[in-house]
Every structure is written in structure tokens, then in C-alpha cells.
């Protein structure tokens, strides 16, 4: 019995140490891993999708303007199939009034997402049945992934244990730090993409591939069956001609299912986003574009979804400090006062 207890204690201590090491080395520092750090039921809006979510919507600005909080479950090159699983994940920790779902990559074929895009999501999620389902789902589509490598998806620690090198490097923003600006990531402040030609959104329509159509319909079913309040958004940016036309099909399918969808490319109020000055690159708006988008979209959300105002609540003070940090850094990099920029946009 004494020896059995010894073994048990040894294993318990091991599990505790392993949990610490695991958390330190595994979870990727994405908006998803930081999402778990937000206090339970503290987010009023959850924005899910590709990098077009966290580069476009300035959550700390929205908080400053209207007092509601926005969390991101958005990652670089996020396969659209993951939206359903991230909705499920969010439901475990938060009860937001509205989910915003980025549609930018709804047309991308599932085979085209590289391992990085897949891992950004699954390696940031906590171990759960939902995570396992998310992995199973994508692996069922990906015949190019060797079955022997499947274990590396379920147990990403096998891949990331060598992240101790990152911990050794002081320049790396390891997990445990507060996420900058509550997830809003604007790339390079003053970087401006110069477009090659004038861009006009096409109203023509091409059918989504059957796989992507099924993924979208599956998501719509999940939203409707669970009465999830949601709004789909096509971000303002360049799209390849085919993607543009397939997005029109996606919009049609969503509308036919009586769900709300906004196409920022055809929204008149967003015509002030100038592709000559407000783009960071082909696929993302820069901080100026993001400010214009946030000014309009944060107001739209406030007006349509009865969002609370937490600005005088001490519990939400981190939102104020992150907004201040954002403004200070904006000044440092652009040599402009953010309030001045904001005022100019509001005025126009």
C-alpha cells in the first residue's frame, strides 16, 4: 500500500509539472489562446475568422467608443471549417450578444490551407472533445496528410516541445503576457499597399465548390439549431475574381437561410476606405482602413445588438489601458495623435 501511494504521489507531482511545462510550451500565442484568459462571460462580441478579423476591427477603439468588449477567435489563414468548432469553444466560456463571422476564406478550398493555418487553430485550443472533433474533421478532408503524422495534430506537444528555445529568447512574446490591444493586430502602422489597378466588386456569381458549400451549410445549421446570434461579414479588401464571385454565392446561401450578412465591399458607408491609402497589403486593410471600418461597424453593432457599456466598470479597466497602449504606440510609430486621425475621420 505504501508503495502504491508513493507511485501515486510521484505521478501526481509529475502531472502538475507536466501541466506547467505543457502550458508554457504548447499553446500558441494566438488570439485563441488569449481568448481563454478573458474572464468568463466578459465578452459582448466574439469575432471569428481569418486575419481579416483581427486586422480590421479595432476592439479597443470600439470599447472606447461604446463600452462593449470584443474578443477574437481569429487566426492567420484560418480554415473556414473551424468556425463551427470555435463557436462551440466560445460557448463554453462566453455568452456574447453577437458573433461576427469573417467570410474572407469561405471560398478557399480546404486542401489549400497549409499546416500553419490548421495549427494556428488546433494548437491554440485547449484539449477537449471539441478540439478532437475539429482535428478529425479537417483530417477527414485531407488525404495529403500521412496517417502516421496524425498523432502530431492531436498531440501538438510532440511538435512544440522544442519551443524552449523561444522561451530562451527575450524577444519572443511568450504566452503569459497580456495580448496587445486585446487582439487587434494592425500589422505595420504606416505601411501602405499600392494597388496595381482599380478594383471593382463584381456582382457575378460562381457556385462554391461542393465541399465549401457543405461546410457553410453545416455551419448555418449549427447556428440555427443552437439559436446563435450571428452576422457574417465579407471584409473590405481585394479578392481574386473567382473568390469574389464565389463569395456572392456564399452571401446568397446565407441570405436564403435568413441569416444576416454584410458585404463591406458594397456597403456605401465604407466607401471612405481608400485602396490607395488604407490597405496594408492585397488582402488586409491597414490601421487607417481599420479605423474607418471600426468607426462604422462598431456603431452598427451597438445600434443593432443592444450591447452593454462597461466603461465605468473597474473590472474592465484593462480595456482602457490597452486602448491607451494602442494610442501611445500609434504615436510612436506614425508621429501622429490617434485622436486627431479619429477626429478627422469622424468629421468626414
Amino acid at each position: 500500500m505504501k508503495k502504491f501511494i508513493k507511485i501515486l504521489v510521484f505521478l501526481i507531482v509529475f502531472v502538475i509539472f507536466f501541466y506547467i511545462v505543457h502550458n508554457l510550451l504548447w499553446l500558441k500565442p494566438t488570439t485563441i489562446s488569449y481568448f481563454y484568459d478573458e474572464p468568463k462571460n466578459s465578452l459582448d462580441v466574439v469575432y471569428i475568422g481569418s486575419s481579416n478579423a483581427y486586422t480590421a476591427f479595432n476592439s479597443v477603439l470600439a470599447y472606447n467608443l461604446y463600452g462593449y468588449t470584443t474578443g477574437f477567435l481569429s487566426t492567420d489563414c484560418q480554415p473556414f471549417i473551424y468556425v463551427k468548432y470555435l463557436l462551440k469553444e466560445s460557448e463554453k466560456y462566453q455568452k456574447p450578444s453577437i458573433y461576427v463571422i469573417d467570410l474572407a476564406l469561405a471560398t478557399e478550398e480546404i486542401d489549400n490551407f497549409d499546416e500553419g493555418g490548421i495549427r494556428n487553430v488546433i494548437d491554440s485550443m485547449k484539449i477537449s472533445q471539441n478540439r478532437t472533433d475539429a482535428i478529425n474533421d479537417i483530417l477527414s478532408y485531407r488525404e495529403d496528410i500521412n496517417k502516421k503524422d496524425y498523432i502530431n495534430y492531436y498531440n501538438s506537444f510532440l511538435l512544440y516541445h522544442n519551443k524552449w528555445k523561444d522561451l530562451a529568447s527575450i524577444n519572443v512574446n511568450i504566452r503569459g503576457n497580456t495580448m496587445l490591444y486585446k487582439g487587434f493586430n494592425y500589422g505595420k502602422f504606416n505601411s501602405i499597399f499600392e494597388p496595381q489597378e482599380e478594383y471593382i466588386w463584381s456582382d457575378e456569381l460562381i457556385q462554391l465548390s461542393s465541399e465549401n458549400r457543405n461546410i457553410l451549410l453545416d455551419l448555418i445549421d449549427y447556428i440555427k439549431n443552437n439559436n446563435i446570434n450571428s452576422i457574417f461579414v465579407v471584409p473590405k479588401r481585394y479578392f481574386e475574381e473567382d473568390d469574389n464571385k464565389k463569395l456572392n454565392d456564399a452571401i446568397r446561401i446565407i441570405e436564403e437561410n435568413n441569416l444576416k450578412v454584410i458585404n463591406c465591399n458594397t456597403t456605401e458607408k465604407l466607401n471612405n476606405i481608400n485602396f490607395n491609402t488604407d490597405l496594408y497589403n492585397f488582402a488586409h486593410i491597414n490601421v487607417y482602413g481599420a479605423t474607418k471600418y471600426t468607426l462604422w461597424f462598431s456603431k452598427y453593432l451597438k445600434e443593432n445588438y443592444n450591447l452593454p457599456d462597461h466603461r465605468n466598470d473597474e473590472k474592465y479597466s484593462s480595456w482602457d489601458s490597452e486602448y491607451k497602449r494602442f494610442k501611445d504606440n500609434f504615436k510612436k510609430i506614425t508621429d501622429k495623435e490617434f485622436d486627431d486621425v479619429l477626429f478627422e475621420y469622424i468629421k468626414n
Binding site: 509539472f17 510550451l25 498531440n155 510532440l158 511538435l159 516541445h161 528555445k165
Partner: protein, 513 residues
């Protein structure tokens, strides 16, 4: 199934758990089932099943026949037939390409316009081990040192006991056979000792060997990028890689067997403290050396052929020199076989065969001359500095031979040697060239730091092991210290080990033999 993979750990855990849960009478059946699973885990198809049966069934039947006909000519015929059947398969699966390459060289030499295409055969894991183990089984029955196994399934377990299939050690039926079949009770102390040994083995492979391999692969694969110093370092690194990989695997195997209750023979005894190559081989892959001595060297030396050679050479060269000739001749044959056992290529035959023989021959013939010179010059052999010189000399000689072992062809090996001896000191002081070599060496600063610290730990442990059983000492300590060390070891492996998709999958160097 790699010895350091999670699958293997899980496999062992389940095997051991079931082993101790079921009645002692049936425990060997679990080992047999596990061994069959292990044998065919990656490689189950009709060809490999036939391969296994073609060794097992003849060995089983012939073993019984040898016993029935002991001390008769018929018994000897059965023995020879059994050995030939086993060797035929071994040669067919492992050495076909060596023969084809030899023929191709001969054709080239005589300008015959024909070349054989190489053939690639799918052989079972551990074929080199279980083939020799079954030969020793037949010979031992013939010699009367053990009895034939009457149960074919028990015979199958002896042939395929899973822990030893990848890297030995070589077991003898007389000493290990019964331990496989008799049941064992679970023993807590044995489990702890076994686990500690497994951990140490995993540490050696995943933290040290795999890291050394990254550097060695970079240099051997891109020789043109490195100067003599880096190539020399790669030569040293490969020897250490081989040692940590091989001895680490043996630690895992011994640890598993210790938990089960089966005592296997040791395969290493601090070989890098050896002062001569002869001593080195008494401490490196001990069971292979012992096997070859017992089943090849001594029988060959005592054979009629060698006795005749002995007589003739004594008559021609005198008693002192003459008696050495059959000895050297037998040694040469044994070392060629050792080299060939390591792989069906000339690089193995030279690196782990002929060169080792040459070293031993020189040690034996030049030793007395060297002693005389030392005496005349007043060089003391009993002081630390001289012993250190001997140890370093032995290490370097072995490392040099391992260049052939590691190279994919003889010309590659000669390129490495040429690079080592192209000493250009200016490349050591050219900052740009040096930085370029460092950036190409396959290890970043962090990996390099981990490697150095790990090698220091290994060295200290080896020093301590010369005087005491380190494992025993550790387990005598108070619980906090003891557990602290174990946790440090476990988490060093978990964090700093080279495993998973971020690194190449660990492959045991001796696995293919």
C-alpha cells in the same frame, strides 16, 4: 516501432501490465504475442511471415534432431544443414547487393559491358540478431550445453523476444531461455531500477545522440561547406552519436527486461575508457564479440585447416612467429564477418571489420617494440598522463574507423579523410568562413549548449560508473533528492529531447543490422 516512440512506450506498458496480471504459467504467452506484434508492426505481409517461419520451423525441427542424434555424424549433418538454412536466408536478404556490387566491380575491371541492378528486399526487423541467436541455439544443442526446446511457440519466443530485436544483446538459450518461460512476480524495486535505466537510455538517445546526429548529418551531407576542424569534430561526434544511440537503446532494453524479471547480458562496459582497441572491443557490443569468439573464432582456430596451417607456419617461421599466423588468420576472418554483419557494404567491412583487425594486429606486433622504446626513453606507463594518452589514442583510432561505418560509400569515406587532413589554419581565423560553417552545422546556439551540457553529464556519469553503481547510489538517497533527480531527467527528456515532428523521427542506428 522506434524504441523511443510513444507507441513503443505504450506497447511496453500494456505488455508489462498484462504480464503481471495473468497467472505465471501463461506469462510467456504474453511475451510471445507482444513479440509477434512487434516483429510485424510495420511490416506485415506474406513475405515477412514466410521469412520468420523459414528460420523458426527448420531451427525448431533441426534442434530436436540434433539432440536426438547427439555425438553422431548425423547430428553434425543436421547442425550444418540448420546453419546453412539460416545463413542462406540471411545472405539472400542482406548480402545480395554486396555480391552484385562485387560482380559489377569485377566486370568493370575486366571491361565487361554488363552491370547487375541492385535488388531491394523487404526483410524483417532484427534479422541479423535472430539469425545468429538461432545459430547459437543449434550449436549449443550440438555441444550439449542446452536442451532443445520441444514447444515450437516457446522456441518462437526465444527467437523473437521483442526488446532485443532492434539492437541485441545476443542472448544464449542456456542462460536466458528458461527466464523467458518461467513466470515472474511483480517487484517494486525491480520496476524502479528498470524505469531509471530506461529513462537514462532515452536521455542518451533523444537528448544527446539525436542532437549529435544533426551535426554529423550536416557535415557528412555537405562536406564542401566545412573545413578540417569541423570534419574532424563530425568524426568524433559520430562516434559519440553511435555510442549514445546504441548504449541508450541497450539501456531501454535492459530496463524493460529488468521490470519483467529477465536478466539479459550487459553489452557495454564503459568502452571509451579502454586503453587499447583489443580492450575496447571487450567493452563494446560485448555479446557480439563473445558470440563471434564462441561460434566462429575458436572453432575456426581449432579447425583442422588452422591446425595444419599452425604446423606449417611453425616449421617455416619458427615457433614464436609461426603460432601467431593461424591466430591472425582466424582473427581476420572473424573481423571480416563482424564488419559484414553490420551491413552488406564494403564501408562496414572496412570500418567495423578489417580496420579493427589491423589495429589489433599492430597493437600485438608493435606493442613489444613500443614497450622497449618507452623503457629506453624512460616513459612511465603507470602514470595518469600516459593512460590518458592511451585512452585518447584508442578513441581516435576507433573514431577514424567509424568514418567508413558512417559513410554511404568508400569514396565518401575517403573524401571525409581527405577533408580532415587538408589542414588550412587560415579557415579557422576567417570570421566569415567560420560563421558560415557555424550556420550550416545543423545546430543553433541553444541546441549546441544543450549538447555540451548533456555530454558533460554523460562524461561525469561514466566517470562515476567506473567506481560504483550509479543507479544503486541514486536509489539509496532520500526521497526528495531521488525524486528531484528523476523529475529533472524526465523533464529534460520531455523538453530538450529531439522527438516529434519538429525533428526527424528517431531511428536507431543499429536497427538495420
Amino acid at each position: 516501432m522506434s524504441l523511443t516512440s510513444l507507441v513503443f512506450l505504450l506497447f511496453c506498458f500494456i505488455t508489462i501490465l498484462i504480464y503481471f496480471v495473468i497467472p505465471k504459467k501463461f506469462q510467456w504467452v504474453i511475451l510471445l504475442i507482444s513479440s509477434i506484434i512487434f516483429l510485424f508492426y510495420d511490416n506485415l505481409h506474406i513475405g515477412t511471415v514466410v521469412q520468420a517461419l523459414l528460420i523458426l520451423i527448420p531451427s525448431y525441427i533441426i534442434g530436436i534432431q540434433i539432440e536426438k542424434n547427439s555425438n553422431t555424424k548425423k547430428g553434425k549433418v543436421f547442425l550444418i544443414a540448420g546453419i546453412l538454412i539460416i545463413l542462406a536466408q540471411l545472405f539472400y536478404l542482406k548480402y545480395t547487393n554486396l555480391f552484385l556490387a562485387t560482380f559489377n566491380h569485377i566486370f568493370n575491371l575486366f571491361k565487361i559491358d554488363y552491370q547487375f541492378d541492385f535488388v531491394y528486399r523487404n526483410s524483417l526487423i532484427g534479422i541479423s540478431y535472430y539469425s545468429l541467436i538461432m545459430i547459437s541455439y543449434l550449436v549449443d544443442i550440438y555441444r550439449g550445453t542446452c536442451e532443445a526446446q520441444k514447444n515450437i511457440f516457446k522456441c518462437a519466443l526465444f527467437m523473437s523476444y521483442f526488446p532485443i530485436l532492434t539492437s541485441g544483446p545476443f542472448i544464449r538459450y542456456g542462460s536466458v531461455g528458461n527466464e523467458l518461460y518461467e513466470g515472474h512476480k511483480f517487484n517494486y524495486d525491480r520496476m524502479v531500477r528498470g524505469l531509471v535505466r530506461i529513462l537514462w537510455g532515452v536521455f542518451k538517445i533523444l537528448v544527446i545522440s539525436e542532437r549529435l546526429g544533426m551535426f554529423v548529418d550536416s557535415v557528412y551531407g555537405n562536406l564542401e561547406l566545412f573545413n578540417f576542424a569541423f570534419t574532424f569534430a563530425a568524426m568524433i561526434a559520430f562516434t559519440l552519436q553511435l555510442y549514445t544511440n546504441f548504449s541508450g537503446s541497450i539501456d531501454i532494453i535492459m530496463g524493460i527486461s529488468e521490470i519483467i524479471g529477465i536478466k539479459l547480458p550487459e553489452n557495454f562496459n564503459l568502452p571509451f575508457f579502454s586503453k587499447t582497441i583489443t580492450e575496447f572491443w571487450r567493452n563494446w557490443h560485448i555479446t557480439l564479440g563473445a558470440w563471434l569468439k564462441d561460434y566462429i573464432f575458436y572453432p575456426l582456430l581449432k579447425s583442422d585447416l588452422m591446425q595444419k596451417l599452425n604446423e606449417k607456419s611453425k616449421n617455416k617461421f619458427g615457433k614464436k612467429v609461426g603460432k601467431k599466423i593461424p591466430l591472425y588468420f582466424s582473427m581476420l576472418i572473424m573481423w571480416i564477418i563482424i564488419g559484414a554483419w553490420h551491413g552488406g557494404a564494403y564501408t562496414f567491412i572496412i570500418g567495423s571489420g578489417i580496420l579493427q583487425f589491423v589495429y589489433m594486429f599492430l597493437e600485438d606486433t608493435l606493442g613489444p617494440i613500443s614497450d622497449k622504446i618507452n623503457k629506453k626513453l624512460g616513459i612511465r606507463k603507470d602514470v595518469f598522463s600516459y593512460k590518458l594518452y592511451q585512452v585518447i589514442r584508442t578513441f581516435l583510432l576507433f573514431s577514424f574507423a567509424m568514418i567508413f561505418f558512417r559513410s554511404s560509400s568508400l569514396s565518401d569515406a575517403f573524401d571525409i579523410i581527405k577533408n580532415i587532413f587538408t589542414i588550412n589554419l587560415s579557415t579557422l581565423f576567417n570570421k566569415e568562413a567560420l560563421l558560415s560553417m557555424i550556420s550550416n552545422m545543423g545546430l543553433d546556439i541553444y541546441d549546441f549548449a544543450v549538447l555540451i551540457v548533456s555530454l558533460i553529464i554523460l562524461f561525469v556519469m561514466q566517470l562515476l560508473a567506473r567506481k560504483r553503481d550509479v543507479r544503486e547510489k541514486l536509489l539509496e538517497q532520500n526521497i526528495i533528492f531521488r525524486w528531484g533527480i528523476l523529475y529533472i531527467l524526465i523533464f529534460t527528456i520531455i523538453i530538450f529531447g529531439c522527438y516529434g515532428a519538429g525533428y526527424d523521427a528517431t531511428a536507431f542506428i543499429y536497427r538495420g543490422f
